[in-house]
Symmetry: C2
Subunit: 175 residues, 2 copies
């Protein structure tokens, strides 16, 4: 149940409208948490109901832009949640199921799909590296920037891991 807190975080960074939030979930936040605009509108309504955010109140507001901002109660809830313990969700990946099936009933020609995946991950890694070079070059960055950099590095490491795995998989599948 992180979506509400991802929204609170984003609103803490800067107040904005629902659609603008959706945009952020396609970019920066979306690197580690995704949400569609439908989900966001549903959740924003709940957050307002709970008194955690406030919007420029307009009745019958379909089509009208609404700006949301974080309220003190929302900030308090976010602070509570950040330091709350929570067990990590284990790895859950379809590709592992495919490899296991290939082992059980193969060979089926999984190399082709693995090569496609390899290319995708290499492309994404390049994208992340470009962002890193552009936004996080400063070696004496602030604590805030170093934390944001770390989040990006998580994405980088993830992609590097997939690339390594895809290469090993291809080597086995082709032997």
């Amino acid at each position: 149940m992180s979506l509400p807190h991802a929204l609170l975080t984003s609103l803490a960074e800067r107040p904005c409208s629902g659609l603008e939030l959706a945009g952020r979930f396609d970019r920066s936040i979306g690197f580690f948490w995704q949400a569609t605009h439908q989900q966001i509108y549903r959740e924003l309504a709940r957050l307002e109901e709970a008194g955690w955010v406030r919007s420029t109140a307009v009745e019958a507001s379909r089509g009208r832009k609404r700006n949301y901002e974080l309220l003190p109660a929302g900030r308090k809830e976010l602070k509570r949640w950040v330091v709350a313990g929570d067990d990590p969700k284990p790895l859950r990946d379809e590709l592992m199921v495919r490899l296991r099936a290939e082992a059980a009933i193969g060979p089926l020609g999984l190399q082709k799909e693995m090569r496609r995946r390899l290319a995708l991950h290499e492309e994404k890694l390049a994208t992340y590296q470009a962002i890193e070079a552009k936004d996080f070059a400063d070696p004496d960055a602030s604590r805030e920037d170093r934390l944001r950099h770390l989040v990006l590095r998580a994405g980088l490491m993830q992609e590097a891991m997939w690339i390594e795995l895809a290469r090993e998989a291809i080597a086995i599948l082709e032997s």
Copy 2:
């Protein structure tokens, strides 16, 4: 939508009952795909409906053990799915949201939770390494075993990545 195919894969490895499948999803398969027995029973009913698996047919079978086995149509479906293209699901992790929130409204004392996570991942890594040493020591393993080994290595690399990230996070949070 991988659960049905994870079940087909498991049944391809060996026919068995629903509860036994649930057991496997707590062990080997569960390292990369999880499911509760409720989910498994629901899905098995669908797979049988679709003609992909067959069970020892007993009417009004509550409480009676049912053994399931893969049918040719199920095997065909599994083969189709294994090589079907599918975009990787991006990283989705609550901890990244927490780090971003810590950057936005911190410091909040996230170190404590990070240290707990670090210990959890170190423990899991040790578990995986023990399995690796026990089951995958042979350097001249079969193609099948090398694929299974690769799946385990994915888990190992994942845990190693989290350990590295947790350490870097703690260093930043404590500076």
